[in-house]
Amino acid sequence: MNKIDLIRMGAKNLWRRKLRTFLTVLGVIIGTTSIIVMLSLGFGLSQGFEDQMSQWGDLTTINVYERWVDPSMPKQEQVKLDDAAVAEFKAIPNVTAVSPTIETYGAIINGRYVSQIPIKGIDPNSMAEFGFEVAEGRLLESSDELTVVFGGRMSQQFWDPNSRVWREPKIDLMKDRMSLTLNPNYGYEQPGGDSPNYKEYKIKAAGVLVEGNWETDYGVYMPIKEVLKLIKDKEKAEGARPQAGNRNQSQYQNINIKVNDMKNVQDVQQTIKDMGHEAYSLNEQLETMKQTAGIIQGVLGGIGAISLLVAAIGITNTMVMSIYERTREIGIMKVIGASLKDIRSLFLFESASIGMFGGIIGVAFSYLLSFILNQFGSSFLGNFFGMGGESKLSIIPIWLVFAAIAFSTLIGIISGYGPARRAMNLSALDAIRTE
């Protein structure tokens, strides 16, 4: 029996019992749709987490800081964050940039307006590699001295300490004359107080970063060597003596590491931890959240799978019924020359077709449902999952489409296998005696 005849005959048999075929296919449609939609919610959730995390900061950056070592524990040595560590990190595969950072706190003075902000010292040459982008001006250069790059939302951070009512300050970060002080109480000072004599530095604006990243929106960036100088000045002004243990302290507060791809972040982070440092990355958080999303997806998919299981039983039932009805026909076919393989193929073809059509229509249905969910369900379910409105609630990756069709076809074949064997093993003689 050739393939075309098999298909023709199988299709005819299915068509002969249109209603029953339709109902069985409907079961598979519902099963496939529920699996796909449930899984798509999981993918949407996972993607939502990722979108959200990338707002919080860069997902390919690792933040290295000192591991706290219990001084009472012998044999544990403090691994320092210094230039040697920077060089070591640069040698790790997949690392594209390394920048030591130091952060202090100060105020920017712009006429009568003041902004208290973190002052971040970084390696000026690594800014581009770390993904900093300017909306205006330029990034830092290694020759810059008292020059800053402003965070993306800095223009909204100024206020007038002497005014009782809030007025929107008119600030032009690039053009206004501004100065910087490390006085932690600037603008809050009590008159007549005995405060140290902090220096005020005139600063130049190199640029303003683009908005949209919580990590870089607030604060100013300066070359790290400048920030170190400012801190020394501040200590001098405060009259602080160099502390005894200072020599043992690390040169830098933090070292930031940029990794070439998200998928390598975990490995690099582990390498750094193995060196004896403490490391943090948003990526690590994301992995944890993705695992959560994966579990939710598994549960949802499991619920969907139940309906596909029911559909599979439906297919088996339909095929068994079909064999009862067609017992005589099967017997006749066997007597007039149908081989065992022909009979089995015929029944498997029919059940596989039910599975496949159910799968195909199920995919189409899933897209429709997914579209509706994304259009109308976001505001409702989005809150439930704690996601922002921009993220899609339901995402159907293209591989899922093919996997779903292949899977439903496979379900059809598996469901039909028992009945097909049964048909194949029917005694031709008994079958044709059936009236």
Partner: protein, 242 residues
């Protein structure tokens, strides 16, 4: 003439619970090529069992079935099916047509399993249906045809690929006398025309007159074998026409 079918010490025992029923006991029979042979016996004599065994539909408990030099009893079901597909045609008492298929489709169904292309098998089936006088009933369903017409479709199906052996199990059991003779004439005429071996199972002595040899079967054994010289009704008619 060579022996096409040889049965040696054929035995068939059915088990019904603890009881054993001997359906066939020690059958020895040779059937020649192009022979028309009739297995005559009452209901329950074992004649149908014998036919089913020669057609490979049932396995003997003991003994040998040699067809064209091949031992049928040693074949597995796949090979028996293949053998049937290539060598055997069937005509049944109850026609055994598939009710959802038209006459043409019923006849061409067996050809489908042989992998013959649709255009070719439709042509073969159409020719055969014309031969049995149903050229104008090609697209009728079995339910739209009389018993005689249905049996003609079944005959067309049996003969369509020119098999070596035709088995006919009470082919006229459901038909009236006039149709019975028409059908018997048709079936024996076609078998003779193509030098096919025809094995008819019946309880009807009148039918047995169409055979070259009559094998009387009683209680699972061959009672006697009679050579038959009587010419068929069809041949009588032909001679009358000449």
């Amino acid at each position: 003439m060579e022996d096409l079918i040889i049965l040696k010490n054929l035995k068939k025992i059915y088990k019904m619970g603890d009881e054993k029923i001997i359906a066939l006991n020690n059958i020895n029979l040779s059937i020649k090529k192009s022979e028309v042979i009739c297995l005559l016996g009452t209901s329950g004599s074992g004649k149908s069992t014998l036919l089913n065994m020669m057609a490979g539909l049932e396995k003997p408990t003991k003994g040998e079935i040699i067809i064209n030099g091949i031992h049928l009893e040693k074949m597995n079901e796949n090979r028996v099916t293949k053998f049937r597909q290539l060598n055997v045609g069937f005509v049944f008492q109850s026609y055994n047509l598939i009710s959802t298929l038209s006459a043409l489709e019923n006849v061409s169904l067996g050809l489908t399993f042989k992998g013959i292309s649709k255009s070719k098998r439709d042509k073969m089936a159409k020719e055969m249906l014309e031969n049995v006088g149903l050229g104008d009933r090609l697209h009728h369903k079995p339910s739209q045809m009389s018993g005689g017409q249905q049996q003609r479709v079944s005959i067309a199906r049996a003969f369509v690929d020119n098999p070596k052996i035709i088995f006919a199990d009470e082919p006229t059991g459901n038909l009236d006398t006039k149709t019975t003779f028409e059908i018997m004439d048709l079936i024996t005429g076609m078998a003779k025309e193509n030098n096919q071996t025809l094995i008819i199972v019946t309880h009807d002595v009148e039918i047995s007159s169409y055979a070259n040899r009559i094998v009387y079967i009683r209680d699972g054994s061959i009672e006697k074998i009679k050579q038959n010289e009587i010419i068929t009704q069809g041949e009588m008619a032909n001679e009358a026409n000449l």
